[in-house]
Symmetry: C2
Subunit: 118 residues, 2 copies
DNA sequence: CAGCATCCGATTTGATACTG
DNA sequence: CAGTATCAAATCGGATGCTG
């Protein structure tokens, strides 16, 4: 058994392996603005099921991107926040945001203006 | 019927909607270095099936990220290259690459050296 | 070579019920 | 509230065979 974590040769593939999925990218986006509770994330990520959200959070926690804090209260409160490693992904999300802003501009300028048919 | 394309409010979600999947990100990575043939991509993206590769290429073509060129030769040759829009995604892939490089450095420095068990 | 069509099993997902 | 467990449904994915 070899202990050293085997990463892909390609750095892009390495990163994609950790966050190359729709939900993880959107979770990162949310948590970049501060710690979030489970319910907050669930409401923010429209369309995600509780199960899938849990799976993605667990995966990101395992990969060291998120830290999970359980507050011993009633009712229970759980917060997810970025680890240092997760925080270092900010430039990635920032680029996604910048691109999306530019794209929306192009779309609203290029496309035919809103027209109502019938 | 409203004509204007309905994009998510969040720019990050917009971008993620177009490339928020493992294979598309890796396809982008490959095509950033110049036009690629179908077979080249198929070999480069280890693990992808022909079917899934085709689906992703079609989707990216439809979204205006890729241009598909068929050369009328025998045997046929098809090349995929970035459109202008696709090219504008370079900074995103670049960030993924930068992050992956940094991550690999941390991993190889932090982790226990390669040890053989048993 | 670069596909498309089809079949079919594996994986993922959603809905629901239940718990500390 | 923030999960876990379970099961059916939907989607994905690989393999194969065929075509221009």
């Amino acid at each position: 058994m070899i202990v050293k974590k085997d990463l892909p040769d390609c750095p892009v593939a390495t990163t994609v392996g950790l966050i190359g999925n729709k939900w993880k990218l959107l979770i990162l986006r949310d948590v970049l603005t501060g710690p979030k509770r489970f319910g907050e994330l669930h409401r923010s990520l429209t369309g995600i099921s509780q199960k899938v959200l849990t799976e993605n959070l667990r995966s990101m926690e395992k990969d060291g991107l998120l830290k999970r804090t359980v507050f011993p209260e009633v009712p229970p409160r759980v917060e997810y926040m970025l680890s240092e490693l997760g925080t270092s992904m900010r430039p990635i999300i920032h680029q996604l945001e910048e691109w999306g802003i530019g794209y929306k501009e192009i779309m609203t300028r290029t496309e035919t203006p809103t027209i109502r048919t019938a």
